[in-house]
Amino acid sequence: MTAFSTLPQDLQRALDGARERLGSFAELRYADTIGSTNDAATELALAGAPEGTSVLADQQTAGRGRRGRTWSSPPGAGLYLSVILRGENLASTPGLVTLGAGVAAADAVLAATGLPVRLKWPNDLVMGDAWKKLGGILCEAQGRDALVLGIGINVMSSAHPPDVAARATAIETELGRAIDRPSLVVECLSALRALAGALRSPDPSALLQRWRDRAADGWRGAVVRWQDDNIEVSGVARDVDDDGALIVERDGRRERVIAGEVLWQRRP
């Protein structure tokens, strides 16, 4: 099992002050250095940890993105947080979970820092006209009733490798000032608790409307490319449907895209 340490004092104070608002989402484990917060949270989930239990690290030595990609996580540069959600049918509504996770992360960044971050389908956090990547989310289902939701947010520009500087950004780069990190952690946990509630509501369509409200400018009408049965195809993005699928017009027909990744080709 992963060895955790005591929370940094400023973070402990921030958590204590928000305990009522966070409920079970105040159950935060911390490590200065960890392999991957998602792997550590998965261990906890498999050992039966309740919903809201989360893992935060200052540095990840094996931070993961989608399909085995590396998520650059140098010490002190970013927020690396993974949380456990529980529910029998969570994995059967993947779109609500992943798009909702994007909304939660964007809400948290806005609440803690004032930065109006936007979303690129399904759930990348992006900034500005160039849609520079500020953060990403990795959702992994664990068994029938648990999900681990990992959030990586660039806080300082050192969070991302220099060679992606043209495509990536960080909160402090955008704001031109330092932020209060403990409040970013607390706002993330609070937004994730709200997400857990929204996923249980009988009509989760409000979640998707909030995703549309937060979607990056210019997404409707943009050309997207994706893999369909190992063949690359393209179409024009039109909407997201009630399941969170991307609705794309392709050869005059509307099609649902549920691929994990689409490449957006936007006009400069």
């Binding site: 085995g68 993947p94 992943t98 798009l99 399904p122 959702c139 992994e140 664990q142 893999q227 994990g260």
Partner: protein, 154 residues
Amino acid sequence: MNLDDIKDILNLVREHELAEFEYERDGLKLRIKKAGQEVVYAAPPVMAAAPVAPPSAVPAAAAASPTAIEPTGVDLAVIKAPLVGTFYSSAEPGARAFANVGDVVKKDQVLCIIEAMKLMNEIKSDCDGEVSAVYVKNGQAVQFGERLFAIKLS
């Protein structure tokens, strides 16, 4: 589905001497299992519209139509897709597949990943045994209930 439909299904199950039959659609789930029979798992016919692998690698007991089931003397479990998504045979591009034909697997061992809208689902074996068929290719789109693997029980 009404009572007559169920009677028809029961008659078909009897006629074709099926040990077990499973049907799922629009929230309705019907499972018929003959008492005291060796259990042979088969794909539900409603899912048979999905493309299937060439029969060369497919043991007779797991062929596309339940009418084609023949007693083989071995117990086969068919692992099906619990959700719609993209099938990945390995953890990342270029990595070794989680499960190849001939591999001996344990219960709860990861067999593949199905991704839907960036939610990764590890699909685990529900039994100990040997992989006797892999029905889908890496990167292929799979439907709910589509057959992924056949496991010869040990």
